[in-house]
């Protein structure tokens, strides 16, 4: 089989993996080598679905011994199969990198024969890239669930980032849809990678030349909408992953219907809006100091599809508002709908020099359309007076036409048309590239 056909099959097979970020690592170029993993991650192109292309994202093989129902490559699926050789992967990576098409390699694989056998093939490939081809660019490797910890430890020496996919938010979900995988085989390697990262970090404090281990940390991905798990459950899971394993990111991927099966939900298009709201909520967990239980509770376990999670939270906590922008602390400013990280920082910086007026807020990128209901500026309130919660809810909703387009097809979405309400344009960029 020629390289063109292989790349076609194994690139297409990997494309549902959402993690596009190549950030968080700075591996400096060694003499005689090619490349450096620079910080923050760089997008080299955007594909026709609007996603950032940063890494050459491929599967080593799509021949799979497992049979996960939601997966195009499951053992029983009738699809063309292909397998790379380690040298083919290395040469593609090097040559794409030299032409500045990519920032590095994202290598994943189906379970070929068994987990250990596959893991060994992946190790051979990344070792070759580093030692024979002297490649210093970014490498993100998917650890195969169920592979021996020793193999995972070996792979960790060569790569910048490693991830083990959680796949589904609950073990019941896994049992139903991916019977050969179990929670333990996924959580254990995560814990193992985490402890190795900590250990390597300690050693490097003592000896400058101690070997690196996955310097850009680990991430995971889960599929949204293939099982009945609610948003509260998902956010609590993410929260604990961030806490327990210091994950860099949790990626959410709207379930794309690839096949039909009684255990799978019958949906026509992926639940993109839900995925989007989860990313917003996740963002609030990581950068805005929110807790999962503040955003949702057992009575309200689903994120509001109509408005963003920060506005929804503010509406439920109207007694905390309005806040005076010239006095409120950073944490509180961040909680105001329409104020993002960047504009909050600007406000804090500028008011040390002089008090801020309403006009200046606009220039700082505050979305006044939303923020004015929640702030005072030099003591003056610019929002509607005597307005109740449900009227405010209507005002915070995006324009109705846009809303219709979203709910009827689940498509028509652009990140930009949705994000401005909570996030500043800079933040949007960050979301997409995974910078920060």
């Amino acid at each position: 089989m020629d390289l063109h056909t292989k790349l076609k099959i194994l690139g297409a097979a990997a494309k549902y993996d959402v993690s596009c970020s190549s950030s968080g690592s700075s591996r400096r170029n060694r003499p005689g080598g090619l490349g450096n993993a620079s910080l923050p991650g760089i997008c080299h192109s955007w594909s026709d679905d609007g996603r950032c292309i940063s890494l050459l994202k491929i599967l080593f093989t799509n021949r799979c011994a497992f049979n996960c129902l939601y997966c195009v490559n499951r053992a029983t699926a009738d699809v063309p199969r292909a397998t790379f050789t380690p040298d083919e992967v290395a040469q593609l990576t090097i040559n794409f990198y030299k032409r500045n098409y990519i920032e590095g390699l994202f290598l994943s694989s189906a379970v070929y024969k068994n987990p250990n056998y596959t893991m060994e093939l992946l190790i051979t490939t990344v070792r070759k890239l580093r030692n024979e081809y002297h490649f210093n660019g970014y490498i993100h490797l998917k650890a195969i669930p169920g592979a021996d910890p020793l193999l995972i430890a070996e792979a960790g020496k060569y790569v910048d980032r490693m991830s083990v996919n959680i796949e589904l938010p609950s073990s019941q979900g896994l049992q139903l849809l991916a019977p050969q995988k179990n929670r333990d085989a996924i959580i254990k390697p995560m814990g193992f990678i985490h402890s190795k990262i900590l250990q390597a970090r300690e050693e490097r404090k003592l000896y400058k030349n101690a070997p690196l281990f996955v310097p850009a940390g680990q991430t995971t991905q889960l599929i949204v909408g293939a099982t009945p798990d609610n948003d509260l459950r998902i956010l609590r899971l993410s929260e604990s992953l961030y806490k327990r394993f210091s994950l860099k990111r949790v990626y959410y991927s709207a379930y794309v219907p690839v096949t039909q099966h009684p255990n799978l939900p019958a949906i026509a298009s992926p639940p993109l809006m839900r995925e989007h709201r989860l990313y917003q909520a996740d963002w609030l967990l990581r950068f805005y100091g929110f807790k999962a239980d503040e955003l949702l509770d057992e009575n309200q376990p689903l994120l509001d599809i109509e408005i963003d999670p920060k506005s929804a939270w503010a509406l439920r906590n109207l007694h905390l508002f309005p806040v005076e922008v010239n006095r409120a602390d950073y944490e509180m400013l961040l909680r105001v709908p329409g104020i993002g990280v960047r504009s909050a920082k600007r406000i804090i910086a500028a008011r040390r020099y002089s008090s801020i007026d309403f006009e200046t807020l606009k220039r700082f990128g505050v979305v006044l359309k939303r923020a004015r209901h929640f702030i005072t500026c030099r003591g003056k309130f610019y929002g509607e007076r005597n307005i109740n919660e449900s009227a405010l809810y209507q005002m915070l909703k995006p324009a109705s036409t846009q809303q219709k387009a979203i709910s009827s097809t689940g498509e028509q979405l652009t990140f930009s048309s949705l994000y401005p309400h909570v996030f500043q344009p800079e933040d949007v960029y960050t979301v997409i590239t995974g910078e920060m």
Binding site: L7, P31, S38, S45, D49, N100, Y353
Partner: protein, 251 residues
């Protein structure tokens, strides 16, 4: 009303700022010579660029304001915006009064303008780091043409020096007729023009095709979103890409 006119170089702008200080004059505007429209009511003062004076102003920025103020001024200058010279002048004047806290005074229009210009320039430079496309020539040199909005060649060249230290490369700003030539640890930016067909290496075609195919293939068909794509990667940047964006429709 007095306008100062400089030759369009950063050193020229710094010289103009130097002159304003020593002549105890406050020019209404400082303009690059290619932006001048004559008017009877304005006195035009042409400034001769002087490296030494420019250097003294530069040192004064770094020492009396901050190194980041120097970077802000340079980046804003590279925007080639008409009002850049004037905004930088006002910004620095305020900076010499306030010291490094000038960068917090975002409520001042000139400070804000300089910051806004710097941001636009560094954003484009950031984007360009990804969008530059090299092609392997028969001679073994990697060549990449670009046409950025702003004059960012000098900003991006160091990145590629770090990225590909052992490979000879050229990045060519076709619009400004400038190119960065790199070989063995050093690069120089010089005036450069090139027309005609590129003498491409034989293996170049194969990798270009592989990349084109990969690019077509990576998009998820049920999520095609050309508007979003164009928002991140405006059409004006497509000219020198190897891949062809925007060809797929939603099924």
């Amino acid at each position: 009303m007095v306008y100062y006119i400089y030759d369009g170089s950063f050193e020229g702008l710094l010289t103009a700022i130097y002159e304003a200080y020593y002549r105890r004059e406050t020019p209404e505007k400082i303009l690059s010579s290619d932006n001048v429209q004559n008017s009877l009511f304005i006195k035009y003062v042409h400034i001769n660029t002087d490296q030494e004076k420019a250097q003294r102003v530069y040192d004064a920025i770094v020492q009396k304001i901050s190194p980041s103020a120097a970077k802000n001024a340079l980046y804003a200058f590279l925007s080639e915006a008409q009002d850049a010279g004037t905004a930088i002048y006002r910004y620095l004047k305020l900076g010499w009064k306030m010291g490094k806290s000038v960068d917090l005074a975002l409520a001042e229009p000139h400070v804000f303008r300089v910051h806004a210009l710097r941001k636009k320039v560094s954003q484009e430079a950031g984007k360009m780091l990804g969008l530059v496309r090299f092609q392997l020539l028969k001679s073994g040199v990697y060549y990449a043409p670009i046409e950025p909005d702003f004059n960012i060649l000098g900003i991006i060249a160091p990145h590629f020096k770090r990225r590909m230290p052992n490979q000879d490369w050229i990045i060519h700003d076709v619009k400004r007729k400038l190119a960065a030539f790199y070989s063995q640890g050093q690069y120089a930016i010089v005036p450069f023009e090139f027309k005609g067909a590129l003498p491409l290496d034989d293996e170049e075609f194969d990798y270009q095709t592989l990349w084109k195919e990969y690019f077509q293939n990576i998009a998820i068909k049920s999520r095609i979103n050309l508007r979003l794509q164009r928002q991140f990667m405006p059409v004006r940047y497509w000219k020198y890409l190897i891949e062809t964006p925007g060809t797929q429709a939603k099924p």
